[in-house]
């Protein structure tokens, strides 16, 4: 049987563990990103077709991956909230959404800026680009729905329902390039077609940005837990003020 206090104990343990882990994750992210940037700008060769514009790849591709990973985290957390009613799941879903949205935006913008020199236009309406745009809309929808409900517990659960409805977008993004013949690069997923001189920096950048994502997610969850504690304390203060004031009559 779980009471309110027992449920609060769980986030407390999360706070302890995440506080210990956060500096290490942050440091790891910084190291990997710094090393990747060194490789990108001073070591990696230009592509024989794309020239130096291939440097955009090292931020574009990790952004695109993290955009999808972010939604996966939201979806898994939503599932955890609706099915197991885990109190941290809602915190996780809420914290992951803006981070995922930011990386989706980054993928869209860097992709557009890559598209102009490569395809001659900032934007084409092909399946992958469109599906990433839809992903961005879904993120916006999640954030907007949550913020337009006053009851936070209800807002979390309804947002979770929406997140699960939208989860169909992930396979569409992933396989859109294979299903429809489009301008965009098909998924190579580190098969041998990519030269190691470009694969290594991409891999290192991807690890670095993923660590950054994790660090931001942990910090975001901590912030949210603090916010909820503040709210609880303030509500207690408000009730207390009410009691003290009422006592004046007696």
């Amino acid at each position: 049987m779980q009471t309110l206090t027992q449920r609060l104990a769980n986030p407390t343990r999360f706070m302890e563990i995440s506080r210990a882990a956060l500096p290490w994750v942050t440091a790891g992210a910084a190291l990997f990103i710094a090393y990747a940037m060194y490789l990108v700008f001073f070591v990696a060769p230009p592509d024989y077709q794309q020239g130096e514009t291939v440097k955009i790849m090292y931020i574009h591709v990790p952004s695109a991956w993290l955009a999808m990973m972010g939604y996966s985290i939201v979806a898994i957390s939503s599932f955890g909230l609706l099915v197991f009613r885990h109190p941290l799941a809602d915190v996780s879903a809420k914290a992951a959404a803006p981070i995922g949205a930011a990386f989706t935006l980054a993928a869209l913008i860097t992709g557009s800026l890559w598209g102009k020199p490569m395809w001659g236009t900032y934007w084409v309406w092909d399946a992958r680009l469109t599906s990433v745009l839809i992903l961005f809309f879904l993120y916006l929808g999640l954030i907007a729905l949550r913020s337009s409900l006053d009851d936070e517990a209800l807002a979390g659960k309804l947002t979770a329902v929406l997140a699960l409805v939208g989860v169909a977008i992930l396979p569409i993004i992933k396989f859109s390039v294979d299903w429809w013949n489009t301008l965009h690069q098909p998924s190579t997923a580190f098969t041998s077609t990519v030269d190691p001189s470009m694969r290594t920096p991409l891999l290192i950048a991807a690890i670095g940005f993923t660590l950054l994502f994790i660090a931001l997610h942990l910090k975001g969850m901590q912030n949210e837990i603090l916010r909820r504690r503040v709210k609880t304390l303030r509500l207690a203060e408000v009730e207390r003020g009410e009691r003290l004031f009422s006592a004046r009559a007696e």
Partner: protein, 60 residues
């Protein structure tokens, strides 16, 4: 460093990326500070109320 004819696009995309991710990091950090301060404030008020009786009342 020579980034060829499309240098502007490369720099623009890195700049946009840094702006977006930087804003995200900055906001997360700032929000953390704000919540921590608010929690301290709320804690302090709670403690004060409990240890010392309020000025006008506290017969509850």
């Amino acid at each position: 460093m020579d980034l060829g004819p499309h240098a502007a696009f490369i720099w623009a995309s890195y700049a946009a990326f840094v702006a977006i991710v930087g804003a995200l990091i900055g906001w997360t950090f700032f929000d953390g500070r704000r919540q921590a301060a608010a929690l301290q404030d709320a804690d302090r008020r709670g403690l004060k109320r409990r240890s010392e009786p309020g000025p006008k009342q506290d017969g509850a």
